[in-house]
Amino acid sequence: MMGLMWYLMGMLTTAALWGYLHLRQYYHLDWKANLGIIGAFGFAWICIGWSWASFVESEPQSGAMGLLNFGLLALFLGAYTWRKFIKPAKKMP
């Protein structure tokens, strides 16, 4: 099960990198936007890794706390970064 998790996270990391490069084509990403993206990405990955591992080790409470703490943080940081630093910086066509 942990092997599957690492495999999927590897795939998702590749997809996220592709998404980031795609985003750069349409938006001016300054250091704040980049920092927000890295932070949201980091928290999302810890959320997936932590919760998956916790459910595998039969500690569902830890899994739920992982989803709540790291997952929510990733969502909030991602949404804030999108609204404040990415969306307003759209490149003119």
Binding site: A53, S54, Q61, S62
Partner: protein, 498 residues
């Protein structure tokens, strides 16, 4: 409207000014570049230094001496007769030291109750009867009793009562001479006639640890024999008498310390017959791996004796061999395993050069213990100290009375537990408890997120340790008397299905 007009300047002067401006920009640019390079170097240096600091803390800070403060005026080798297990199993000691029973809980007799405990370990019918009397609680049914029975079985055959510190017994025998095998082989030597000489201390250390890994140990450290940590005199509970180290078959030079891990899912059920099963399995593995290591050393031409809880203070030797730190609950906490380990020792006359020996290391565990107290909170017998800092003497009730607190090796700055209360709970609960092991935040299975938290605990401190302790509870770890853990354990067999 007023206008200002610049005075006319000669052409060459203008050129000079332009040249000056160009030079300033160039200088500023190079300064900026210099600044960037400097900042880059500084950032690299800070990152490198921080990384080195973190790596050093995680892999443990090496010490030249014992890493815990010792009062050498007070510290003396510990006579084995003063240990709880030895006293509880010895009618001779009960007669010799009656005050030890009298001063504990209104003449509560250790021998009488320990006999029941011993009976449970040797007689499955008696163990089942005891469990029935206690209401067949979850984790205490015939199913779990049978599991425990099986876990302890190899130790009962290989080295009976080594867990109760019985020396010179079974594979823990001190005998190094020839043994008689059935014909046609006849008499054979145990110890090879020629000694293997290692190229260096590192080569010897690597070979010994490789053998230990192959036989099944999860950690191995090598340290010098230190009479301070040896039981002296040793006590034979079967014969009811002291034994001097002069009777030991050789002068030990080195002690090889092995750690054997216990199962996380089984220990999560503590206190129960399932946690007792993994403890028993740990002891059995100590005998199994220990006897293999003894034979390995015999094959190399060196004398060797295996010890479980007998012969010496296992925790002190494991600390000396750099395998972990002593903790609040009195046990060894090993990085990445926590207190969920058993310790076996091999005494040998193989002497290594200095570089072959491991050095004691500190991993930030005691610092964490001072902020945590989860083991003390979880202890059903209130036997573990809740003091903020380690001390030189027991601080529990009646701890100042030597007839009550007779079982300590004083002169070590540590947390002193009331082992009598701990053992009493074992006897009353018909288990060997283990709640403090389960509750410890360092007791975690091998998953990446635990390694990350543990690594951060090694180099942080103070309020962050308190925060981590609170989080450990909130994340649902360390529950004791957990009936769900019993159900979860009986599903772990699925993990080895193909």
């Amino acid at each position: 409207m007023m206008t200002s007009k610049k005075p006319a300047q000669p052409e060459n002067q203008q050129r000079i000014e332009i040249t000056d401006v160009t030079d300033d920009a160039s200088v500023n640019q190079s300064r900026r570049n210099l600044f960037k390079i400097g900042a880059g170097i500084a950032a690299t240096a800070v990152t490198g230094t921080s990384a080195a600091f973190v790596a050093d803390r995680i892999s443990g800070i090496e010490h030249d001496g014992f890493p815990v403060p010792l009062d050498l005026d007070v510290l003396k080798p510990f006579p084995q007769r003063n240990s709880i297990f030895t006293y509880a199993l010895s009618p001779e000691l009960a007669l010799k030291y009656p005050a030890r029973n009298h001063t504990f809980e209104n003449n509560w007799g250790f021998q009488e109750h320990a006999q029941e405990f011993g009976h449970s370990m040797l007689d499955i019918s008696y163990a089942l009867k005891k469990s029935k009397e206690m209401g067949d609680k979850p984790g205490m049914s015939q199913l779990e009793n049978a599991l425990s029975w099986g876990g302890w079985a190899p130790m009962r055959v290989m080295a009976p009562f080594q867990h109760m510190m019985l020396p010179d017994n079974g594979v823990n025998s001190w005998y190094q001479g020839p043994i008689d095998l059935p014909p046609p082989i006849g008499r054979v030597e145990q110890v090879a006639p020629e000694r293997w000489e290692f190229e260096s201390g590192e080569a010897a250390s690597a070979a010994i640890k490789s053998a230990a890994r192959l036989y099944g140990a999860v950690r191995c450290g090598i340290t010098r024999n230190d009479p301070m940590w040896n039981w002296d005199p040793i006590f034979d509970i079967q014969k009811g008498k002291d034994i001097s180290w002069d009777e030991f078959p050789f002068k030990p030079k080195s002690v090889i310390v092995l750690l054997i891990d216990m199962d996380y899912a089984a220990m999560a059920t503590a206190p129960s017959k399932i946690s007792e099963a993994t403890v028993g399995n740990g002891y059995s593995m100590m005998s199994f791996i220990g006897s293999s290591m003894k034979s390995f050393l015999h094959g190399l031409g060196y004398q060797a004796v295996v010890a479980g809880n007998d012969l010496a203070n296992s925790v002190a030797y494991a600390v000396s061999a750099g395998l972990g730190e002593g903790a609040r609950n009195g046990q060894l906490i090993a990085p990445r395993l926590g207190p969920r380990v058993r310790i076996a020792k091999i005494f040998t006359d193989l002497e290594l050069p200095d570089e072959g020996y491991d050095k004691p290391r500190s991993f930030g565990i005691m610092e964490f213990c001072s902020k945590c107290k989860l083991c003390a909170d979880a202890c059903p017998a209130d036997a573990i100290s809740t003091d903020d800092e380690p001390g030189w003497n027991p601080t529990y009730e009646h701890g100042e009375n030597p007839d009550y607190s007779w079982h300590h090796q004083l002169g070590v700055k540590k947390y002193y537990s009331d082992a009598k209360k701990c053992f009493k709970f074992w006897l009353e609960s018909n288990t060997d408890c283990g709640a403090c092991i389960t509750a410890c935040p360092w007791n975690k299975p091998d998953f990446w997120h635990h390694r990350m938290v543990e690594a951060s605990n090694s180099f942080t401190g103070g309020p962050l340790h308190t925060f981590m302790k609170i989080m450990d509870n909130l994340y649902g770890y360390g529950n004791t008397f957990d009936e769900k853990a019993v159900q979860s354990f009986w599903k772990t067999g699925k993990d080895i299905e193909i």
